[in-house]
């Protein structure tokens, strides 16, 4: 594993810049195919509404994956993640238009965990339409 950010160069409070990810219905269909999660709440508006959702919602794991990129792209190595967890606090509702939904994701070094293992904990924020969509989103990353 070869993270590009060194443990010594970060401190608590070091921020990972916020990035925007746009997600539309076609992205969800592609993700359904790639992940094998074909739950119709992620692509069938009629079905989603019948089970009480406002509209088609993005796979939680899709949003989680985009949040992981913010951390792994920063660290320089997706294999540098030691632990990663999120709570899906609110669904990302994806309208059937050419704009879809936008998720804004950022992160901040919350703790330096282990000087020897060179691990830090990042707290991740993810919002869509002004609402927090991931809660307790945290990644433990091994830095260089």
């Amino acid at each position: 594993m070869t993270a590009k950010i060194s443990y010594d160069s970060v401190e608590v409070g070091t921020e990972v810049p916020v990035r925007e990810f746009r997600v539309n219905r076609a992205d969800l269909v592609r993700y359904a195919g790639a992940s094998g999660d074909f739950n119709p709440i992620h692509w069938n508006e009629k079905f989603a509404k019948e089970v009480g959702l406002p509209d088609v919602i993005a796979h939680g794991a899709y949003t989680m994956a985009e949040a992981a990129r913010v951390v792994s792209d920063w660290a320089g190595d997706p294999g540098a993640l030691v632990e990663y967890g999120v709570r899906f606090t609110r669904p990302v509702v994806v309208p059937n238009d050419d704009k879809g939904a936008v998720v804004e994701i950022g992160a901040k070094v919350a703790a330096k965990l282990d000087d020897e293992a060179r691990t830090v904990r990042l707290d991740i924020t993810a919002t869509s339409a002004g609402q927090k969509v991931l809660g307790r989103a945290r990644a433990v990353v091994r830095l260089a």
Partner: protein, 156 residues
């Protein structure tokens, strides 16, 4: 309808090996719009010290979710209403990233079953091992089967 508590602690047999292919990793990365070459170019992966392309960190969920789906979610005795299931939370512990050429088995265990405001909350742990029996990752998944008359916000 509350799920049967006696399922807590139940482990299912290890799944047949899932063989991870380079093109599957590519497909998954592309579905995320992730252009990091470490997912598609073996040379880029080797430059980071990996023997072959590695999957994005959440890829392992597709394998553990498939295992949980076939064994737990569709367990007729458990009786979970999949049409009302949403993903509540998800956590991974990684020993190493999933890579092309891996043959991975998943052992699923029901860690807990809770009932909250009519919602069934099911926590499933998936231990992922490679062909040599070495640990690759553990996935902790919480699924929420929403009550039939609940609004989605109330269940969260």
């Amino acid at each position: 309808m509350a799920l049967d508590q006696s399922f807590v602690g139940r482990s299912y047999p290890p799944t047949a090996p899932y063989e991870v292919g380079r093109e599957k990793i590519r497909e998954f990365a592309e579905s995320l719009g992730d252009t990091n070459p470490v997912h598609t170019d073996p040379e880029a992966a080797r430059a980071l010290g990996y023997p072959d392309v590695i999957a994005p960190p959440t890829f392992v969920f597709t394998i553990t979710f498939k295992a949980a789906g076939k064994q737990v979610i569709e367990d007729p005795q458990l009786g979970l209403d999949y049409s009302r299931v949403v993903h509540g939370d998800q956590r991974f512990e990684y020993t190493r990233p999933v890579r092309a050429g891996d043959r991975l088995t998943v052992t699923s265990t029901i860690d807990s079953i809770k009932s909250l405001a009519g919602n069934d909350i099911l926590s499933v742990r998936g231990e992922v091992h490679d062909e040599s029996g070495d640990h690759v990752a553990t996935s902790f998944t919480t699924l929420v089967a929403r009550a039939a008359d609940a609004e989605v916000e109330e269940s969260r």
